[in-house]
């Protein structure tokens, strides 16, 4: 094996025809370029893999970086198995005066081609071991530069909140949100960053990490209490609600406080609630994230013996698409609750405040109350009752506040502001208790279960009096006739 590492496959001019010689040279050229590409690329790829394994680099960024590295490498090395290029190389290295180039590019039917072939063969035979193109420095230089750039990038990643947030934890992202707030929040942001660094530090033990998390949680609680006190002091006499607003946000609970929202302090109170809402959410998320991480650490330490219920309890609910309190995700919920209310039409969260989250605490609502909830809440926000009404001022849009009525003529039939449903009706379908999955549902009926009530889509039914009106007694669609049974008497 020579310096190129390819001696064993190198063709000798004595046995190879010019065409075979060109092909083998092209192949060797390709291998050389491939090795030039891959070998120097190992350090940056290893760095990427290490960063991926340590959770320091988001997976998407790592994959994109690897692909970009490969493309760059292919571009730099010109990795193309080209016969003309190999022939040109043979011509130059053997002094063949473009014989191999002619053989590689010209049609084999030419009359004088045998003369070129024989002379090229003779030259190749006299040349002995055929050389390879010299190694190039560009791939090595590129590898060093890329490795340096990659290490620098990995070093900077924790400071890049957008990237860090996309990775594991999300503490840095929450810290970035908090850092945009007041001084107390900035302190909390620093605490979260410290926790994040501690978590990413492989030298720290789990106990240390857990202690750090506990410390951060304590600071979060402390800051929350301070903020509540200061909010109570600033909102004055009309701030019954204001005191409770942050608490409410921090706890993730939305209570009905319709009566307390009347009077002149209503607007002010709403604004205070709105301000407290964003900060409280960030803190709530931080608390939730910390609790989740603590749960994971505890789960790891307990190993396989850990109870599955604990982990699921610590994890946020997947249905938490909206803004939710820190405890809302941890709140254990029965499947039936969510099914009964999560997709209820008329449970419009838009008019009563953007903080309402379908599938959250609304699970207590009954399906039969849908008719009440279809009332336009913007007409009198204070008169609202029911879950979620307390958070109404938090993120209410100006057009939805007070006397600003939505321009209903621009909504599609059956839709209201913010994607809510207007004029919706229920269809209750009773599915026979057979052991088979139901398409379009998340639950599978088991034998012996109570017949689940499966809510179907939010498409509005035709209004009364219009063609295709649906009455209370509607026929079962043909495709369901064999699947449905009449309800028990």
């Amino acid at each position: 094996m020579d310096a190129n590492g390819l001696k064993a496959e190198a063709p000798t001019g004595e046995t190879a025809s010019p065409y075979r010689l060109i092909e083998e040279t092209a192949l060797r050229w390709y291998r050389r370029r491939l090795s030039e590409l891959l070998l120097p690329a190992v350090p940056p790829l290893l760095a990427l893999a290490t960063a991926l394994a340590a959770g320091r680099l988001p997976l998407e960024i790592g994959v994109a970086g690897a692909i970009a590295l490969a493309i760059l490498g292919f571009h730099v090395t010109g990795l193309v198995a080209s016969k003309p290029r190999a022939a040109r190389f043979l011509d130059r290295s053997l002094g063949a005066k473009d014989r191999f180039l002619t053989l590689a590019t010209i049609e084999r039917t030419a009359s004088l081609l045998p003369v070129v072939e024989s002379s090229a063969t003779a030259i190749a035979a006299s040349a002995g071991d055929l050389p390879l193109p010299p190694r190039r420095k560009q791939p090595l230089v590129a590898s060093v530069a890329l490795s340096a750039a990659g290490l620098l990038f990995l070093w900077v990643i924790p400071e890049l909140t957008s990237l860090a947030g996309a990775g594991g934890g999300g503490l840095d992202r929450i810290a970035a949100e908090l850092a945009a707030g007041n001084a107390a929040d900035r302190e909390l942001a620093q605490v979260l960053r410290d926790v994040s660094k501690t978590l990413h530090d492989p030298r720290r033990s789990k106990e240390e990490k857990r202690a750090k998390i506990a410390e951060a949680l304590a600071k979060l609680d402390q800051a929350e209490r301070k903020r509540q006190i200061s909010a109570a002091g600033s909102s004055g006499g009309a701030s019954d609600k204001g005191e409770q607003g942050p608490q409410q946000q921090a706890d993730g609970k939305r209570q009905d406080r319709g009566a307390g929202e009347q009077g002149s302090g209503q607007e002010k109170q709403q604004q205070a609630g709105g301000a407290g809402n964003g900060e409280g959410n960030a803190r709530g998320q931080a608390k939730q994230e910390l609790e989740r991480i603590a749960g994971e650490i505890a789960g790891e330490s307990q190993g396989a013996k850990a109870e599955p219920g604990k982990n699921t309890q610590a994890k946020p609910q997947p249905s938490g698409g909206g803004i939710q309190g820190p405890e809302s995700g941890a709140k254990e919920r029965k499947p039936g609750e969510r099914e009964a209310s999560g997709n209820q039409p008329g449970k419009a969260p838009d008019k009563s405040g953007g903080n309402e989250k379908p599938g959250g605490e609304q699970g207590e609502a009954k399906a039969e109350r849908g008719g009440e909830q279809q009332r336009p809440n913007a007409q009198n926000p204070s008169s609202q009752s029911g879950p979620g009404a307390s958070a109404e001022g938090a993120s209410q849009k100006p057009s939805q506040r007070g006397d600003a009525k939505p321009t209903e003529r621009y909504y599609k039939p059956g839709e209201g502001p913010g994607g809510s449903i207007v004029g919706g009706q229920y269809v209750r379908v009773r599915v026979p208790d057979e052991d088979r999955p139901l398409a379009g549902t998340e639950e599978v009926a088991k034998p012996g279960d109570v017949n689940p009530e499966v809510p179907y889509g939010n498409a509005p039914l035709p209004v009364a009096g219009s063609p295709g009106e649906v009455g209370a007694e509607q026929p079962i669609p043909l495709e369901y006739r064999d699947a449905l049974k009449p309800p028990p008497p």
Partner: protein, 338 residues
């Protein structure tokens, strides 16, 4: 022996014959001509490539002698036309004369001096454009038309023209269309001291060498035809041919890849005939090297004689003493090797 190897040996033999005959002509002409080896080689190359040659040089350098010697060595018919301002086209092409035979008078076409295998148009730039244009058809189509009749010229037909670059008074520079019909334009340089000594020895002594014919009779003409056919069979790799195309484009001021010097100094660039001339010249060079394929060096060797008279420079180039050869050298340098 297989058919392939037979054809291979046959082709190799043809190439070797070409080289030997070419060398023989060079040797015979070399008995008379001192120096001018490159010019002589290019003249013969143009002859076997099927083109015409314009020789440029001051008087007394042996231009006419080169042509006469080559003609003798080739064993072909030869005519010489001294171009003067009062030369008429009919003096070249021929004229109808009244003949009387058996009491019958009729006009008959009497061929002019253009009807020969090799024609020397001496000091071609001294004739009027009307007369110069009389040879246009002969150069390109190997035929002349007189009084409505078309007469083919003998095959091979080879026109060698000379012009004096210094005595420009009373001359008519060749038009671009006529210049383009010359395959090569060769510059005849003055001899150096050693060559001049040898010239004196050969021309002032009692013994004066003579040129013997390498080809003679019908067989000789057939051999010349075979050699000319072999030139066309030489292979050229597509990348090299693409290089020639790029070269032509780079030499034109409006071409895609023209260099700055070309844009500054060239009024008109070379046309397709230039590319043909470069490739044909390169093919002859390859055969002279015993190869059946063209190499990059063959092409670069043919560029200057094939393209220098096809670059029409502007006034700025003349004012700055920029020559066609320097421009072409720069173009060659600017193009990447295929």
């Amino acid at each position: 022996m297989s058919a392939v190897s037979e054809s291979q040996s046959d082709a190799a033999q043809r190439i070797e014959n070409f080289r030997e005959r070419f060398r023989a002509i060079e040797q015979e002409v070399g008995k008379v001509i001192v120096g001018h080896r490159a010019v002589l080689r290019k003249v013969l190359a143009a002859f076997f490539a099927g083109g015409h040659v314009l020789l440029e040089g001051v008087p007394g350098l042996g231009k006419t002698l080169i042509v006469r010697s080559v003609t003798k060595a080739l064993g072909l018919s030869f005519k010489r036309i001294q171009f003067t301002p009062d030369l008429m086209p009919s003096d070249i092409i021929g004229a109808q004369i009244l003949t009387e035979e058996k009491a019958t008078r009729e006009f008959r076409f009497r061929p002019g001096p253009i009807f020969a295998h090799i024609v020397l148009a001496d000091e071609i730039n001294r004739a009027s454009p009307k007369t110069q244009s009389a040879v246009l058809e002969a150069m390109e189509e190997r035929q002349v038309t007189a009084f409505g009749e078309t007469y083919p010229l003998p095959d091979p037909f080879f026109l060698l023209a000379t012009q004096n670059p210094i005595e420009l008074e009373g001359t008519y520079p060749l038009p671009e269309a006529q210049l383009d019909r010359f395959l090569f334009k060769l510059l005849v340089e003055s001899p150096n001291a050693a060559e001049l000594n040898e010239i004196l020895n050969r021309t002032t002594a009692e013994y004066r060498p003579d040129v013997a014919a390498v080809f003679a009779g019908e067989a000789g003409q057939q051999a010349i035809a075979d050699m000319r056919r072999l030139v066309r069979q030489v292979l050229i790799a597509p990348p090299l041919q693409n290089f020639v195309v790029s070269l032509i484009a780079a030499s034109a001021p409006n071409g895609g890849g023209s260099v700055a010097a070309v844009r500054n100094y060239v009024r008109f660039g070379p046309g397709p005939r230039a590319a043909q001339a470069v490739v044909l010249g390169a093919k002859v060079n390859a055969l002279l090297d015993g190869r059946a394929h063209t190499s990059f060096d063959d092409i670069t060797d043919a560029v200057l004689p094939a393209m220098r008279h096809r670059l029409i420079l502007n006034f700025q180039a003349e004012a700055e003493n920029v020559t066609e050869d320097s421009l072409l050298t720069e173009v060659l340098r600017s193009l990447p090797r295929p």
